[in-house]
């Protein structure tokens, strides 16, 4: 009797404690949600502003927009969100199994197969890069676990972006470039550089050809085969392949390193008949702790965090000056290589030419031959431009994603005789970018 009573009171104690622990938990999470000052306003790693508190109007109340807005605001800016996101990835990293072999793999994203790549652009074809099958490139072995997340493939602590060829966008690119060349015919020579992404170059051999990522060399060959014969194609694929065991692409970010860009610069120099500066002539600066787009796109997976990138930047010797024009039309002078030591971990790639701006000019006072080049690029071009400073008096840089004017107009106005287009192969499958590229011609 006595024992039974004690037992039931013991049970009763736990029952009450359980109710209390539940109430307390709910109270804690709701109070945290109430601390407005703790709420983040923007996410640096997602590169976006977080949802704001919605406006209260009769219309928004009636349509329900206010309530949707409230829900997004409440959860989007919940205090400690970034930490919770990383924790969520950490938990999910235990969802899989480690296989007996050294390469355990994981997928966490929508991989879309690319279109079949025709051998040649119809009707005429100019192939500048031959097949690489007979080449002897360095071997890259996978070590560590590999996983593939989203359209991002992760091998151990290194990530690669899936590439799916789009024939329609490739054709758009070809026709835009041909149209531009016709417009500039007699005024300027057009150089075209298509940069492979890391999945086409530095992906470990055991995955090359096995995963649903399109063949980049074939894609580049196809595009080149469609380009007007007046366009000088800068064939950098094989060059990068021959340096594939070097640190030419970041592990946590989709960009190439400046070393990779340097090899491409040498190829351009060869094609344009200028002298490439040796690398050891540059002053080297390093920015460590870079966790780029792959880290953020995969939801901050711990594997990548354990292996942050270091950006090695090569400073031009010349006392060149750079002025960029931002989206609001403001002109701002900025160092060509900026010190990003104190920048957030996710945006350190912006150390090169102030990141992505609609229009930028660099002038090198040590050269006075009137030489000018225009570089039309997306962000891959940022790492290459600083090398050109030693070769040209005037560099005009246009980021076609943000530029709203006409490139051919600028070429005429500034009397530019060399135009270099730099695009990573992945940009040439994006309909929005191809539309913008065409609009800036």
């Amino acid at each position: 009797m006595e024992r039974n009573k004690r037992k039931s009171s013991n049970k009763g104690k736990f029952v009450l404690l359980q109710i209390a622990s539940f109430a307390l938990t709910i109270a804690i999470i709701s109070i945290i949600g109430l601390i407005i000052p703790l709420r983040p306003k923007e996410s640096v790693s997602e590169k976006r502003k977080l949802a704001e508190f919605p406006k209260i109007t009769f219309e928004s109340l009636k349509s329900g927009d206010f309530f949707d807005g409230f829900n997004s605001w409440y959860s989007d800016s919940y205090p400690g969100r970034e930490g919770l996101v990383a924790l969520n990835s950490k938990i999910k990293s235990y969802y899989g199994i480690a296989s007996l072999k050294d390469d355990t793999v994981k997928i966490h994203g929508d991989v879309q197969k690319g279109d079949d790549i025709p051998d040649e652009y119809d009707p005429s074809a100019v192939v500048t890069e031959e097949s690489t099958t007979e080449e002897n490139y360095d071997k890259i072995n996978a070590n560590g676990d590999s996983q593939s997340i989203g359209a991002v493939f992760v091998v151990g602590d290194r990530a690669f972006e899936y590439y799916n060829f789009s024939k329609a966008q490739a054709n758009n690119y070809i026709s835009s470039m041909n149209k531009l060349t016709e417009k500039l015919s007699g005024k300027a020579k057009v150089y075209d550089m298509i940069v492979p992404t890391s999945i086409g170059i530095t992906l470990p051999d055991s995955y090359m050809g096995n995963i649903n990522s399109s063949d980049q060399l074939k894609a580049i060959d196809y595009i080149n085969s469609g380009l007007n014969s007046q366009i000088v194609k800068v064939p950098i694929f094989k060059t990068l392949m021959s340096h594939r065991s070097e640190y030419i692409y970041f592990n946590t970010d989709h960009h190439w390193t400046q070393l990779g860009a340097y090899y491409a610069y040498c190829d351009f120099a060869k094609a344009a008949g200028i002298t490439a500066n040796p690398l050891d002539k540059y002053e080297k600066v390093e920015f460590s702790g870079f966790l780029g787009t792959f880290y953020n796109d995969t939801g901050k997976i711990p594997e990548l965090k354990s292996n942050p990138d270091t950006i090695t930047a090569f400073k031009p010797n010349a006392s060149a000056t750079m002025v960029y024009t931002d989206a609001n039309g403001q002109k701002i002078s900025w160092p060509i290589i900026n010190d990003v030591t104190k920048y957030p971990e996710s945006i350190k790639y912006s150390c090169f030419i102030a990141g992505d701006n609609p229009y930028t000019e660099i002038h090198n006072p040590q050269i006075s031959d009137g030489s000018s080049i225009m570089v039309v690029k997306e962000s891959f071009g940022n790492a290459l431009v600083p090398f050109l400073v030693e070769n040209y008096e005037n560099i005009y840089i246009i980021d076609y994603r943000h530029f709203t004017g006409s490139i051919s107009k600028v070429v005429t106005e500034k009397n530019i005789d060399t135009v270099l287009y730099i695009n990573n192969v992945s940009a040439i499958r994006n309909p929005n970018l191809m539309k913008k590229l065409d609009a800036t011609i």
Partner: protein, 482 residues
């Protein structure tokens, strides 16, 4: 608003419980529940709250009329059916009917875009069952409109069930007092349901999207090309993921509703009983969404004569019930197809091999799982050409491979999770915990350990769910757009 969201867990629920706690008597407590329920509904559908109010009012009035004018009660019942089925017909099936009409006859040219009011299928059925029960004399008509409105709008079940019968909770609506133990059980039920939804069901849904096609595309023609590229293994696994998602998601919602009911002394009937362990299609439907099955049984099948009017009539009655069950799930032909698909098997079981199935345990389990598995394909893909591409792809008829690197990668990367999800679809965990509890019931150390666990579980499950909910809101912009 959905239960597994931050604004529900951190704002709505605590506010509601706090107000409920401070309300002094049942009248005040009911007022708190009603105000919060209407706010809950209005949160998602500010305009359609009027529809809910209107329907509740009509049915409240009609139930009273039926009771007061016994001689004309049949007429009032017919009016009730016309009003309720008419409204759901317009709002849920209006667009579907017009689309089909247009397809056949070319008119009308323009089809108005009618947005489906949330929960209309659930609260209409609740109200309908209330009036019919009054008509049958099973329950007395409620004089107070607010009580009928509370019954129809109660946020626990208004939006996604279970379809509660008025007669089951009539007394509790007017007088209830939760015991400490029922609160304890309610909390457990709620937390388990929350984690089941936020941690497991949502991830199953995400895996379906990765294995098959993303939900934003699934009902568009573009899905065909995406699906056609997927390996056969990928599609098989994807459908498995959806089979688990739909059970875990739906039953988790019922768990949370039942749990919240228990916390305040409302006892709702069970809505799921581990349906995937059934051995026949008939049994499956007695264990899956029980409140819907019993609704059709009590208000359609039995009134039509059930199985008492000969084999031919029984089959016809089953046909009607299953066509309606299919249609209830959505205004699209694939749902009707899905309902009739089950009708075929239930009829076959009734006529031929129902008894034989009971004698072969494992085989009958497999039989049921295979039928339900393919049933979910009919259910999931509203677009018939996407459905066709999936079915073809599962047998490598899209020139697709049996398996590929991505499929294996995805499977390996989530194998532990998938096994956990499969276990979550079975009563294994609750079976083991009951067994242990029973065996060691007298052991003090053990019951202490069990007690400690029960105290630690709610914060743990809520934290896990919170991390998942916030984690899935993580939505990095494509860097190219930046």
């Amino acid at each position: 608003m959905v239960f597994a969201s931050l604004n529900f867990l951190c704002v709505f629920f605590p506010l509601c419980m706090l107000a409920y706690f401070f309300a002094k008597n049942i009248k005040q407590k009911n007022t708190v529940l009603l105000v919060f329920s209407l706010a809950f509904y209005a949160w998602g559908e500010p305009v359609y709250i009027l529809l809910l109010l209107l329907m509740s009012f009509c049915d409240w009035l009609l139930a009273l009329l039926i009771e007061q004018h016994k001689s004309k009660k049949k007429l009032f019942l017919i009016i009730t059916c016309i009003v309720n089925l008419g409204i759901i017909g317009i709002f849920k099936y209006g667009k579907f009917t017009l689309l089909n009409f247009q397809g056949l006859f070319g008119v009308p040219e323009k089809i108005p875009n009618i947005i489906l009011p949330i929960g209309i299928s659930f609260y209409t059925f609740q109200l309908l069952s209330y009036v019919i029960d009054v008509y049958r004399g099973d329950v007395k008509a409620q004089k107070k409109f607010s009580i009928v409105l509370l019954y129809a709008s109660l946020f626990h079940q208004c939006i996604a069930g279970p379809i509660v019968r008025y007669k089951d909770i009539e007394k509790q609506l007017l007088k209830r007092r939760p015991t400490v133990n029922s609160i304890h059980d309610g909390i457990n039920r709620f937390c388990v349901g929350l984690a089941k939804k936020a941690v497991i069901a949502n991830m199953c849904g995400k895996l379906f999207e990765l294995f098959v096609v993303s939900d934003s595309l699934v009902n568009t023609p573009e899905a065909v090309s995406v699906v056609s590229q997927k390996s056969a293994a990928s599609l098989w696994l994807g459908v498995l993921m959806f089979s688990m998602q739909i059970y875990l998601d739906f039953s988790a919602y019922s768990d949370m509703a039942i749990g919240m009911g228990k916390m305040i002394g409302l006892e709702y009937k069970e809505n799921f009983d581990y349906p995937y362990l059934s051995r026949s299609v008939s049994e499956f439907w007695r264990r899956w969404h029980i409140s819907l099955g019993s609704f059709f049984r009590d208000y359609v099948y039995f009134p039509l004569g059930g199985n008492r009017k000969g084999t031919g009539r029984t089959i016809f009655n089953l046909f009607v019930v299953w066509a309606l069950t299919g249609l209830w799930h959505g205004a699209s032909w694939n749902y009707v197809l899905w309902g009739l698909y089950f009708f075929v098997f239930i009829a076959l079981e009734k006529l031929f091999f129902g008894k034989a199935l009971q004698k072969v345990p494992v085989l009958s389990n497999l039989y049921l799982l295979i039928i339900v598995y393919f049933g979910w394909i009919l259910f999931k893909f509203e677009n018939m050409s996407v459905m066709g591409a999936v079915l073809k792809g599962m047998f490598c008829l899209n020139k697709n491979s049996a398996s590929d690197f991505e499929t294996v990668t995805l499977l390996k990367g989530n194998l532990v999770f998938i096994i956990v999800a499969i276990i979550a679809c079975t009563p294994l965990v609750s079976f083991i915990s009951k067994k242990i509890k029973f065996r060691n019931g007298d052991n003090r150390n053990f019951s202490s350990a069990y007690g400690v666990l029960s105290v630690v579980m709610p914060p743990l499950l809520i934290a896990l769910s919170l991390i998942n909910i916030v984690g899935s809101s993580y939505n990095p912009f494509l860097y190219f757009q930046f």
